[in-house]
Amino acid sequence: MIAATRSFLVPFIRRPVAAAGLGILVCMTAAAILAPILAPYDPSKIEPISRLLPPNAAHWFGTDQFGRDILSRVIYGARLALLIGVGVVSFALITGVPAGVLSALYPRFGRVMMRLIDVLMSFPALLLALGLIVILGRGVSNAILAIGVVYLTTTSRITYGLTLRLRTETYVEAANSMGAGALWTIRKHVLPNLVSPLLVQASFVFAFAQLSAASLDFLGLGAPPEIPSWGNMLAEGRIFITRAPWLLFFPGFAIAITAFSLNLVGDALRDRLDPRFRNMLNGNRR
């Protein structure tokens, strides 16, 4: 366990920028968990007297059109960002990994499965998500599901490619020739070797999920308006941009810095991967 943690941290020690990215993500997670303690105000408290205040000593990030404290809303927004990220990544991994592994091990199943993935991939990402939202309705869990389906496709295809490659490794062939069963091969040889590449994939999916969720929120088709999400803050503050430019700066910056940190971390982890696997991880889409 200690060895695993150490090998995870190595790429960050050598790359200060990636370490900064990891640090930002840790802070974001802390903000999400400790939001009630960290936030100076109730994020939903309306105070008409202090509408559209620029950043000042009492409100570091200013206030919005209802007099709500933007700093508090940005801190609470981290909760939804984390929820969306963890939700989408879990969904993509739980559905995509079995689909990819089984497709590679059972070619007949794989042909059908990968055709199906091809079909799903013929829909541009946001359009697929929007179509699912139309069917499922607006809401946080539906947004997770809709974005999750988009990244289920890339995750299963990457897993499929990796597993096919792993199957031709000498040690897997040796195990097979000694009569190892399919399940044993999966557990002993395939899954352990998938962990590192899938960790890279997870960090990219986490980043893309942030941007997709922000787009859905911005279009009014994501989280319900009463939830302080970064995307919702941008959607609501939009019309005040000339009167209160700071209104949109902080939530947008929060989205960008989160996605940026995740991309930095993903890149640092990818560069540590076996070079044969590295190029297989470029298939994600926006």
Binding site: L116, S122, L126, V134, I135, A214, I255, F260
Partner: protein, 315 residues
Amino acid sequence: MGSYAMHRTAAAVATLAAASVIIFFFIHAIPGDPLYVLLGDSATPDQVDALRTRLGLDQPIVFQYFQWLANVARGDLGTSIFFQAPVTRVIRDGAETSILLASITMIWITLIGVPVGVIAAMRHGSWLDQCLSGVAMLLASIPTFWVGLYLILIFAAWLGWLPSSGYPSIFEQGGLTNLRYLLLPSLALAAPNAALILRLTRASMLDVAREDYIRTARAKGIRPMRVILRHILRNALLAVVSAFGFTFAALISEAVVTETVFALPGIGQLVVQSILRRDYPVIQGIILVTVVLYLAVNLLVDLSYRLLDPRVELS
């Protein structure tokens, strides 16, 4: 080449056929009676019955699918609930804006992404390279609509150089000068995609630079600039060409949001408004048209890639 093209085209057609089943069932998957979905909630039972017979919805579902397919083949995508006009016409009205927006954006992506990527690769490992790569990754992480909103604030509201929203057709008064309405949206849309092409160009240049034939070219004494442009760049661009299909899909996704920010009368904004208006036939039509376009672009990319690099084998 001939068999490769046939094989690729057949695969694209098969994918489209499967996608068309999903798109057909889209309207049936929406909760509620598809007829009320098509007519709107205010429909009377008489209207519903009339439409049921007219559309053949009393027929078996498989039959309905082929009926729909036959209509689509004839260019009939149904009728918009909101506009009370054929969906094809509604989509055509938004096409000019979206096609021009996408084209101008593609020009930006190529003009910025490729040359800057080449410079970063030439100065590989230097301070300049690290800055450019860092900026590229930052741009790829910023939501397009956020960039768009601040472009509006700076160039439209504060400086007053460019219009903030809308787009009058180039066939109306103003002619080609109306393209200035698309300048800010195309820049916002280009930012993350140019960044991705930059990173791809850089990585691909560095990959090619390690090849044996590059060492040979250098050893022969060919001028360094010529090696970079003729030997490395030409081969590196193959990877960039193959990424254009991927970029096209990203453009469609992001255009939906960008057109909404800039209030452009394009297909992207149309799909969002149709969702809010519950104008399902229009949503279905737009999804179908985009999938056809996307598959066609990918097919073209595949085929041109094969023309550019004959080593590509059928896989």
